[in-house]
């Protein structure tokens, strides 16, 4: 789900002139821009969703019983044939009143707010566990690969990263579910009352982020390695291990930190594939089900939620880096 890092860290850089005053202005500017982006994203996605198949607005029983005329009457009654902008206005009004509409086919007539309140905690628990696991292992692996650059450990790590990033995730996730669960005697699907059924989905969720953290940390550390301050620290007689940990790591982690807020927000999004494979009752699985059963209301809310989460994540990431990185400069660089 995560965008690629844009080339090197420098491409995303802002330049600083002046002191805290301009930082404040930067934050204000960035906030306004994010609000604009949220509005544009929201409106675009909402308009696209107006093209959803009309059948998706009916519950199963309605499709069975009613004829064409009653259906159209129902659509008109629900305001689904109104001009898109008045539909948007109504949706926003309801949104602020805490009403997201009702599910149609997946859980007929259940309010979506209640569904989300039920699903999000499950997904978030998995997400948080895999975020911690993925970050710890990924950063350790990245440091290890940078430390033993172009040796066996690095090669093996690269194999892992290439495999995870190139092969469609569905394939290895499926084989892990089928084979590893058999070998380790772990349950094939998720049961709420069996803690051991948490293990495989959590590991699966973190496989991608381990690869992601590892490869980028390795790359930034290797980039930093040739800097003067590193050479100076080595000349002073500090051990390589110490320099890597205390000097290099802090600088190499900054371009990665920009994605941390996104990661934290996205723990509630879950994985579409993993939640369906392991039958985890979370938001990702809910979206998959909603699509398969053509539940327009549900698809709309979840897709909008994802879009807003990701705008928010990018925004917080930029803010975080503006605070964390002392070298940051606050006007946009010329490419």
């Amino acid at each position: 789900m995560r965008a690629e890092l844009p080339g090197l860290a420098g491409q995303r850089a802002y330049s600083i002139r002046g002191g805290p005053e301009s930082l404040l202005r930067y934050i204000l500017n960035r906030t306004l821009r994010s609000i604009l982006t949220v509005v544009i994203v929201f409106v675009t996605v909402f308009m696209l969703l107006r093209f959803m198949p009309l059948n998706g607005y009916f519950t199963d029983e309605m499709l069975k019983v009613s004829d064409e005329q009653t259906r159209m009457a129902y659509l008109r009654n629900q305001g689904l044939l109104d001009p898109p902008f008045s539909q948007l206005w109504r949706f926003v009004k309801n949104l602020f009143a805490g009403d997201l509409g009702r599910s149609l086919t997946v859980y007929p007539k259940v309010p979506i707010t209640i569904l989300l309140c039920e699903k999000i905690p499950v997904t978030a628990a998995f997400g948080a566990a895999s975020l911690v696991l993925g970050m710890t292992l990924g950063l350790l692996m990245g440091m290890f690969m940078a430390r033993y650059k172009e040796r066996l450990g690095d090669t093996l790590g690269t194999f892992y990263v290439v495999f995870v990033r190139a092969v469609p995730s569905l394939i290895y996730l499926f084989f892990i579910q089928v084979w590893v669960s058999g070998v380790l005697k772990l349950p094939l699907v998720f049961y709420e009352d069996r803690p051991e059924s948490w293990i495989l989905p959590t590991i699966c969720l973190s496989l991608g982020s381990i690869a992601w953290y590892a490869i980028w940390l390795r790359r930034f550390m290797v980039d930093e390695e040739n800097r003067d301050y590193v050479k100076f620290a080595m000349v002073k007689g500090l051990s390589k291990k110490y320099v890597l940990r205390r000097h290099l790591f802090k600088n190499a982690i900054i371009p990665i930190a920009i994605y941390l807020p996104s990661d934290i927000l996205f723990i509630i999004s879950g994985s579409l594939i993993i939640e369906s494979l392991y039958a985890i009752p979370g938001t990702g699985g809910l979206l998959t089900k909603a699509i398969q059963k053509q539940d327009n209301n549900l698809v709309q809310v979840i897709v909008l939620m994802y879009a807003i989460l990701s705008v928010l994540g990018v925004f917080l990431g930029d803010l975080l880096v503006a605070f964390v990185d002392p070298r940051i400069r606050l006007t946009e660089d010329e490419g």
Partner: protein, 315 residues
């Protein structure tokens, strides 16, 4: 000892032993150029590793097979058998990789699927990178486009790609064309920004500024110093978009909004194989193997080519 050497040198370097060289115009020109050729060095560096040669040969054979088999073989990959005896057959002489739950030949399906998926991915890659390069070049040379393009970029990349794909595939009836539209409508902006940044940084690099100051016309700078860099980037990006597109197709098939069920694509074959995996694991074996080889190979080729096209890695 020392004076003796000097004396010897004097004997050796007597003026009558030398004669003035004749001025040769062509020879004097030759000294000014090295026989360095960017493309020759890139290709030599690229193929220096045995692993890359192996992978390129492998992918070449796979793709050749994927195009030759449908052209030469008479087996219909969609031919359904009504005779239950021919369903779920294990691999045998007639069906090299067995048949699936309605008697279709998996060997044939795998190659048709590879061809279709590869073509789809290839068209997407060409469109993404092609549009991206052109827009990126215009963007790089035209500052007025900045506000609009950056806003488009922000909006499009802020929506996670999976969500965007799912959304578009959901509102359109999926076919080759709509899947192409869904993926190509997003990819170009990412490529455009990538190429814009690269073109800007190449254009403003010191040697080009210096060359411009010395009076080199813009056309020559573009054709000699910018385009060769961009061409290697184009090849690299195309190679990297292909595995991504193939994966996206598999993902959409899994969610249930991929290609229509009767379309022969790797995504459909893998997902159909998945549903009967517990009883007939062999049905998934060949398509999955081909899929993995293709995606990994293109990923590796793209990255290795990026390394090889960097002049700093040339010998």
């Amino acid at each position: 000892m020392k004076s003796e050497t000097v004396k010897n040198m004097d004997v050796l370097l007597r003026p009558e032993k030398f004669r003035a060289a004749v001025f040769d115009r062509t020879a004097s020109e030759e000294g000014g150029f090295s026989n360095y050729s960017y493309w020759r060095s890139t290709i030599r560096t690229f193929f220096r590793s045995k692993f890359v040669v192996f992978i390129v040969a492998l992918i070449g054979m796979l793709i050749l097979m994927a195009f030759l088999y449908p052209a030469l073989s008479k087996t219909d990959p969609g031919a359904i058998s009504t005779n239950p005896m021919t369903w779920n057959k294990r691999p045998n002489a007639d069906h090299w990789f067995g048949t699936d739950s309605i008697g279709r030949d998996i060997w044939a399906r795998a190659w048709y699927g590879t061809r279709n998926s590869f073509l789809l991915a290839f068209f997407i890659a060409c469109s993404d990178v092609g549009v991206g390069t052109v827009v990126g070049a215009l963007w790089g040379y035209n500052k007025k486009m900045d506000p609009v393009m950056i806003e488009i970029y922000n909006v499009m990349t802020n929506i996670p790609s999976t969500v965007y794909l799912v959304l578009l595939a959901y509102i359109m009836n999926t076919s080759f064309l709509t899947l192409f539209i869904a993926m190509a409508s997003r990819g170009w902006i990412v490529e455009a920004r990538f190429f814009r940044n690269r073109i800007l940084s190449i254009r403003d690099s010191e040697y080009n500024v210096a060359s411009k100051c010395l009076g080199t016309p813009m056309r020559r700078i573009v054709s000699r110093n910018i385009i060769p860099h961009i061409v290697s980037l184009i090849i690299m990006e195309t190679a990297l978009v292909i595995p991504y597109s193939i994966s996206s197709e598999v993902f959409l098939s899994f969610i249930g909004i991929g290609m229509p069920v009767d379309a022969v694509t790797l995504g459909n074959i893998v997902n159909q194989g998945r549903s009967s995996f517990a009883l007939h694991p062999y049905q998934m074996l060949l398509p999955t193997a081909i899929l993995c080889v293709i995606t990994i190979a293109f990923y590796v080729i793209g990255n290795k080519f990026a390394d090889a096209s960097d002049p700093r890695n040339h010998v």
